[in-house]
Amino acid sequence: MNCEEFWKIYEDSGITPEGEDHLLDCPGCRKELRAEKVLMNIVQNLPEHEAPDTLWARIEGALPNKQIVEERERPNFDSIIHYIRGMFTYLQAVPFKPVCAACVIMLMSILATRYYYTRPLSPEDRLLKQDEIAYELEQKEQDYIAAIDKLSKLVENKKSSIDPELYDLYREKIALLDDYILQCRDALEQNESNTNVRTYLALAYKEKAETLQEMYELIN
């Protein structure tokens, strides 16, 4: 056994009988073994450092304040869509019931209301903002309506290639969305500048366009 082998075996299994023999013949390893014992003695008795008391305050201060963030940041359009899509995905897995439909509509109303009312605006700002949002939403509506028309035709032509059970589920979802779109249109006739309703409407259109897109992708 040479010195290198001695230390390799020492790390795995300590001092073996062969190791003892090597030590008897090797003053270098004997001295190094003393160093090893000193090293381990000191290292294993090193005190644990105590984290300073002020450190938690620093950490806590650097954590994002959840409530402030929620008040300041207006949830964006896409995240609302994401919630609603998640809800629909869930609903697809269970038979549709009127109560589910009511839940979705309630959810949409809550989210859309939150979307608009999370940040207080001055009356002037609010009017300006409403105009901006209304314009933006109307553009979106037009885009979605065009997409829906196109996709509806494409899907209608090849609907027989979708699994009938799945097709029925999609039909029910679209029927629900159509119903919802009608309600929004009625509400808009009462008050054309109701930005909340416009928001729900755009969400419903977007959801419908994406549902049709999904159906179209299933066919192809």
Partner: protein, 189 residues
């Protein structure tokens, strides 16, 4: 110091996932000293260690929802903290390094100082600090913090074999550094 012996406070983790600030503090209190000690040993000074601990816990709380319970929450936290320390060590390499112990490098004054009972410890701490990054990390985690090679492999994303060979190399180097001071240090112990 046996990491595996600590039971996993899953309920605290669950409450943290729900954003409960009191549970954040509870989880912090459970591992703050160990995370801080490791940071001090790896980074060599309190200022850098505090920064690393702060960064660690902010990352822990930000990503707590991603903790799936595949390993102990402590191993998960130490993995984050050690990786942050390694990043700091790499950044530090690019700036000229000075600290109080550095002044004594290669200076026989160190031997004279061994009359002071804390000097043996200081020599070792200084030598550990000067180990190359990989050796130092494995040595600190295994020998001082009591992690097993399997856990170190997991934390550092290396093989158990690499962890073992880096430890052997680190110890060999430390022993070698200790030899000139051996007589004085042994009298001290």
């Amino acid at each position: 110091m046996e990491n595996s012996a600590i039971s996993q406070p899953l309920d605290i983790v669950e409450r943290c996932k729900q954003g409960d600030r009191h549970s954040y503090k509870e989880l912090y209190d459970l591992c703050k000293n160990r995370v801080y000690s490791t940071a001090i040993r790896l980074l060599g000074n309190a200022q850098d260690a505090e920064d690393a601990v702060q960064e660690t816990f902010i990352k822990v709380f930000k990503n707590i929802h991603m903790f799936r319970g595949d390993s102990s929450v402590f191993t998960w936290i130490y993995r984050i903290s050690v990786n942050i320390c390694i990043e700091h060590m790499r950044k530090k390499k690019n700036v000229p390094y000075h600290d109080s112990l550095d002044d004594t490098e290669g200076d026989p004054v160190v031997v004279a100082d061994t009359q002071n009972p804390v000097t043996a410890r200081l020599i070792i701490e200084k030598e550990i600090e000067q180990l190359p990054e990989g050796f130092k990390t494995v040595f600190v985690l295994h020998t001082i913090e009591g992690f097993k090679h399997r856990e170190i492999a997991d934390i550092l994303d290396i093989s158990e074999g690499t962890s073992k060979s880096q430890l052997a190399a680190a110890k060999s180097r430390l022993r070698e550094q200790l030899l000139p001071y051996l007589e004085v240090i042994q009298n001290e112990l």
